[in-house]
């Protein structure tokens, strides 16, 4: 049997080439895998959801809505919640999306802090940035689908932020949402639905494929100690069976933990918000948009001018310009911090005080602008928030730079003694 398959598919060769691919062992290397597991979970739970969801807002009524006429999309969420484990699966979809974005972000942070984006991996860093942005956009297009009052309000803010882009914004928003986003626009859900369940996921699959293919071609970077153990070789375990076993176990743990979270914290109770009305409930965006939401709250209202028929106002500065600059900045990183030689090993964050303090400062910026999202709730003043959002990150960066230099500066020239506990074999790459 094996021989028969091997003759036709040359499994032996495949095994020797692909299955022996070496994986460096470090727990932070699992962040990318967790992102991938989240995506798989999203696709699987998403399939379940699509099979029970009606992408339309035609008015329906039934026992689930207490005889009240509600949009069909809204009603199908009530229906899904009434199915055995339906609410949990919907919740799992919700939390897996959050975990995917969080894990992708931490994965990026790991790459950034260790300089793994350097030559020759610039391209994969760029693909990675696009993956994160695309994942967030995909999450956003799913917001409106339950079509409750909260979902529609949150999406509406996105619509207007899009419309704030100079010249083409209104057209872009109208194309994505099939016109003005309103509780009675019958075309919006039929448009968002295929975008959320088909086109964006396809694009994600394509990018994920490219990301992994490039990674396999270029091989992992690996911890520094590997250079001493086996210079020029990848120190780690082969994909099959060791790494595959670890991944399998991690996937099961992932599913177990996420399902527990999903069951314990049910996502977004649509009944509590009801179908969309002309009234706006107090909304807060998800945590990954909270920093934009915070910046939108502290931009002064009078920062506004017209230019060639386009309006540049607070919505544009906070909602479009700041995020765009941050994305462009992220794309530029591998070119600003470029290495001539091919990078094979990870760098220690302590030995790169500037880069490390920059990352810490950036994190502080996210935390502080997220805090600004609670401006009204906490009664914080604009002046204070400007200091928190723009000055505190700079101070944090400078302080951490000084500390890093003081603590690690002297030992740079000495060889850092790393304890090697002999895990992993020097598998061939």
């Amino acid at each position: 049997m094996y021989q028969w398959l091997d003759d036709r598919l040359s499994i032996g060769k495949l095994y020797a080439k692909a299955f022996r691919k070496a994986f460096p062992v470090h727990h932070s290397f699992f962040l990318g895998e967790i992102t991938l597991f989240s995506f798989v979970t999203l696709v699987l739970t998403g399939i379940f959801l699509t099979l029970n969801y009606e992408p339309s807002i035609r008015p329906v009524s039934g026992s689930l809505s207490g005889g009240q006429e509600v949009p069909a999309a809204y009603y199908s969420i009530l229906y899904i919640d009434s199915l055995p484990f339906g609410a949990v699966l919907r919740s799992l979809h919700h939390w897996a999306a959050h975990i995917m974005i969080a894990a992708a972000f931490l994965h990026m942070l790991r790459i950034h802090l260790t300089g793994a984006y350097k030559n020759p991996r610039e391209l994969n860093w760029i693909v990675g940035v696009f993956l994160l942005v695309l994942a967030i956009i995909t999450a956003f297009t799913g917001y409106a689908l339950p079509f409750d009052n909260y979902a529609l309000t949150a999406t509406k803010i996105g619509y207007e932020i899009g419309a704030a882009a100079p010249w083409v914004g209104k057209l872009m928003s109208d194309i994505l949402f099939a016109g003005e986003l309103s509780p009675t626009n019958t075309q919006t859900i039929p448009r968002l639905y295929p975008v959320h369940v088909l086109w964006l996921p396809l694009a994600l699959i394509g990018l994920i494929g490219a990301h992994l293919a490039i990674m396999i071609k270029q091989k992992h970077t690996q911890p520094k100690y590997a250079e001493k153990v086996a210079p020029g070789k990848i120190v780690g375990v082969p994909l099959f069976p060791q790494q595959a076993a670890m991944m399998g176990i991690l996937f099961l743990i992932y599913i177990a933990v996420t399902t527990f979270i999903a069951g314990a914290f049910l996502a977004h109770p649509v009944q509590a918000f009801g179908p969309p009305t002309a009234n706006t409930p107090p909304v807060k965006p998800d945590w990954y948009f909270m920093w934009i939401y915070g910046i939108l709250q502290i931009i002064p209202a009078n920062w506004r001018f017209e230019f060639l028929g386009a309006t540049f106002g607070p919505q544009f500065w906070g909602g479009i310009l700041v995020p765009t600059l941050i994305i462009l900045g992220a794309l530029a990183i591998p070119f600003l911090d470029y290495s001539k030689d091919k990078q094979r090993y990870l760098e220690l964050p302590s030995q790169h005080p500037f880069r490390t303090s920059f990352v810490i400062g950036m994190l502080m910026f996210y935390i502080m602008s997220t805090l600004a999202g609670y401006k009204v709730d906490l009664g914080l003043s604009n002046g204070l928030l400007w200091v928190l959002v723009f000055i505190v990150p700079v101070i944090t960066g400078v302080v951490s730079y000084i500390l890093l230099k003081a603590v690690y500066g002297k030992s740079w020239n000495q060889e850092v003694e790393v304890e090697f506990i002999g895990k992993g074999s020097a598998a061939d790459d």
Binding site: G179, Q297, G319
Partner: protein, 212 residues
Amino acid sequence: MADHEATAHHHHEEDPQAQATRRAILQAAIGVSAGAAVLSTLWVGAGLIPREEKVPSKEPVAVGDTLVFATGPKAGQEITLDDLRAAQGEKIPFIIAFPKSPENVVKKDLITNTVMVILADPAKMSPETRQHASPEGVLAYSAVCKHLGCTVSLWQNDTWLCPCHGGKYDIYNQAKVVGGPVPAPVPQLPVKVEGGKVVVAGEFLGKPGADV
């Protein structure tokens, strides 16, 4: 490298001039067809632009419309002076409304038709504001926040508050912005009271809807 040599060898006898011409033609052909492909994609993509439907429920607010409840158990019913009096004692002292045409069509499908009505003390109003309010003190504004289009639906310490990013409006003074990132005041809607009902007495005093 090997490829290149092979090609060079292959065209050994050929006039380099002819080769250059052929390359230029090929490049032009690629450029033109790529451009045509992009243009035609855009052309077809124009089909994604939603078509505006002209329906009575999407007409903008007009003089002579009455204001009706936009939400709640009384949705669709005309707002009376009594309703507004009752609301005065509530935590939210105003009512979110839609206009209803004399032909009895509630114009609820145009977002910018969302209106806030309140019964307020005329003595507190600025002269400009009072001029477009009814003598009883019925006052109306576009309820679509100028910032990012939320319905301004909260009331805190006598100011009208947008729940989305904390925009604050002073209803006694032409909805002047007194807090938050809002770029401009919402336009006032002149109203009067006829037969106990709130009736639109003029056009919005500015453009309603988010200012983006």
